[in-house]
Symmetry: D2
Subunit: 293 residues, 4 copies
């Protein structure tokens, strides 16, 4: 067993005394060696993430999961939890359109082993990025979408999204990454993929929701531009925020300058958000996240 | 004459060729020693700021102003310009309510000679900050405003703002700083003080306009909070932005944490914006600014 | 008893399994309501900070301290710990020279209740800042130091530092803050005040140790300047770092510009570092710190 | 002729009055439309960069160069200048070892048209990155270097560097980018390639020069780590700095965490520095740079 293999427990429930003691006591009795432990309590809710050395326990992840289930039960029906094994690789599918920068960045990180994930497929509504994807040995699926003037646009979209859904679901991925995918995910997919569909929006939300955020930013004359990585929900650009960051612009930056410079922050923010998601560091509660970095 | 005394020319007009040559030629003929020169052209408009060593010219600021007027005239009626003299101190009046942090910060900077300004008065709609102001030897004017449940609230506000206006205008200040002044400036004062009334808003605008921005930010779960220094206009929190900055927050930050931590960025952003305004580094064009830092 | 009164336990010892369980179990048995809990393990050492609601325990801080001592004992002679009570205000003494900005900033934060501390005295080796200090109702002690050309400089310094020591020690302060104090603390005072003497150095250490760091930075042509808050040790500018931050400069920034702009980051970094120290968030281990922000 | 083609003049000389007027007058007489103009004066030296619309001049870059030479001559033998044409692509060669992240990032930016450069070749002292390079259609040259225990290490290095030199010089590149090339460039190559050889060092220089900067940073317990893009000179890690940036770390970051997180800042800082170099925005003066961003 690899030396740095971990079992990761995430758990949340209504706040009360004794939760930390119960969970850490449970792990201590088993001889579990905790390498990372983080807690948060707020708005009357409690959250924790514990990473335990796999080789410190006398059994595997399934047994740990079974035993932890009993502990979690003590905290009532609202308790939410999972136990994952860093030895079992996570899987992801990427959705793209034409902008290559986020895709290129993620492919580089994945191929360099920087992100703990297997990339099963990339789906594009245009073919532009097929070559880049296939050069990395990843299957590219082209699912065309109807153009803006197509008279049967709405039906066409439904059909296209159905194809996307079938491809995605065939992999049961842990993350469906909208890496500058320029189509609005329908509500039923947001729901089906809740907590797994990760979007990068090229503004500091809630500023400049919707289309052409850099144009909006230029128009308003802001002195910083940003990017937001969030879970996709039916409410456009309003899902739980995982990560945000900004860079400074000034009067000399045209819209194309902002587009170009913003790519640097989009790449970073998406890569960070995705990493935290894959490492089970993000706990969603209502429309907010607790991120145990 | 002080060695570092400067005459500062700011100028803007519709863009065309030869403007830089005309202005720099004008200064060169006079033997003017340019110590700072900045240009910007965008959206078909041209902007420049030139700082000339006062001792390099054979005459004073009035003569320079008179001669430059002739140059500016060549660029048509839309040209906007001014010539200021760093040897003539600028004046400011501050408007405050109860929050001391921006006031305290500005008083410290002014008394340490860090900001090139004479503070003529501080006006407060509460008396809380009178002691702090008077300890710095600055007159404090208390102008009470009607409370939220006062039946004659609207008339009362009109009368109070009229008193504020009289005090402010008695100093003809170069800057009227709303240093966390919790009353909305009426449209006619925004207009009268256009380009001189500087507000600090405790959010990264256009996010979280209006009341209680930190509560809004906490509610939305953003990962950065910010502050915006802008010229006050009749359109609330929508005036030309001079400066913005942000700091990172996380799930552990409560609203009071955000309020406390946000003060650090409010102080900085206001002090920077005010400095640039006082140094004639901010040129307003439409609803945007060119800031020659 | 105030609602937000906390008992804060900090504890560190050689790492092993079961520490979290033991401490949280101990608190759970007492019914302790943990409002903040942070852990870190690294380099074979374990660190934790726990904040417990005072009103959740059936006794006061002395009893908690006595009981926790028994728990701590189980982890051997290398275990280091303390239990503090946020209801008992911490005390600080400030040492200054002539630069007012850090002093002014801290006085403002303290008078606004932003920093949980009582300021017992300010000691200056020059009298320049006496007025500012006394305006805040804080006693100022002037302890002159011999000038650089004084033939008895060394003896004079010994005598001056002895006076400083006497004043400081008369308050037994929790923090001795060198707020731009331009004298090098002798080794025996660094030792006596180990873990309590907090310095702000105006560079991003370890760059530009020693004198005139902004001159050094300008000379080297760096693109960022910084400030470092650290515990003072006998090894000049090499003590455990509590906090650092930087701001961007460019070729247009002269040394005086850097000095002026650097003040903004010195103020912030010192205020943050001092806050974390006062809130018992900083655990020193060797020459490094664990900061549970 | 492309609409956005520019001729870019960079010029520096001992400071005096009238330089701006002379250069802008020269351009105005020709009808030159200046789209970007930046000036800096400091340490008695004057610097400028002017970008002129190519289609606003009645002749090509060679004629402009010839005419500008006469203007530059007026400012004495110390004046340094060049005139470049954005319509003529710049060329670059990259030197790499095994770390892929900077290489991958630059390949992505170049293939997306984000950096105005033609990449002629990548030279590696290991073969690891050949596949990545060739997938982008760029020739990869493997030049092995002697290992650390090779008895003829010194001679071997001389021979290897001679091969590197031959390959590089065969392209006469405008930029020789050391994209995490883990061999120290010999003094004669630093000299031959002065102002063209660009290195990325994985620390905030002058902190942590030399080998294993992240280990040094971890050892010192700094709270920020950085990266520095600079021109290579014979004095290791001491050349003129083009760009620097930092990211926050804390006690939880191990050396491998710093290595991983530092990559994000290395990539960005190198890409920014290279872009400014390629756009003729960097003027070197002594051991410092003026960067007209």
């Amino acid at each position: 067993m690899e030396l740095d293999r971990r079992y990761v427990i995430t758990f949340s429930c209504p706040d009360r005394t004794g939760i930390v003691a119960r969970i850490s006591g449970f792990l201590a009795e088993l001889g579990g060696w905790i390498v990372e432990a983080a807690y948060h309590a707020g708005d009357n809710w409690f959250f924790t993430r514990q990473a335990v050395r796999a080789d410190s326990l006398p059994f595997g992840v399934d047994e740990l999961r079974a035993r932890f289930a009993a502990v979690a039960d003590e905290f009532g029906p609202e308790a939410t939890w999972q136990v994952t094994d860093t030895g079992v690789p996570k899987h992801a599918v990427l959705l793209v359109t034409r902008e290559p920068h986020c895709l290129h960045d993620l492919l580089g990180r994945i191929s360099a082993g920087e992100l703990p994930v297997t990339l099963d497929a990339v789906i594009g509504n245009h073919e532009d990025l097929a070559g880049l994807v296939e050069a990395h040995g990843v299957p590219f699926h082209h699912v065309p979408f109807p153009g803006p003037r197509d008279p049967k646009k709405e039906q066409g979209k439904v059909a296209s999204f159905e194809k996307v859904r079938q491809i995605v679901d065939s992999f049961s991925p842990d993350a469906i990454v909208l890496a500058r995918f320029m189509q609005i995910l329908p509500a039923h997919l947001c729901e089906e993929w809740a907590g797994r569909a990760i979007n990068i929006h090229h503004s500091f939300l809630p500023s400049f929701m919707g289309a052409r955020p850099y144009h909006q930013a230029h128009q308003r004359g802001v002195k910083l531009i940003g990017a937001t990585c969030h879970y996709a929900t039916a409410d456009l650009d309003a899902g739980p925020i995982i990560e945000q960051d900004v860079i400074r612009v000034d009067h000399g930056d045209t819209v194309p300058d902002m587009v170009r410079r913003g790519r640097d922050i989009e790449r970073l923010v998406l890569a960070r958000g995705l990493r935290w998601h894959l490492e089970d560091r993000v706990l969603v509660h209502g429309n907010k996240t607790v991120v145990f970095r």
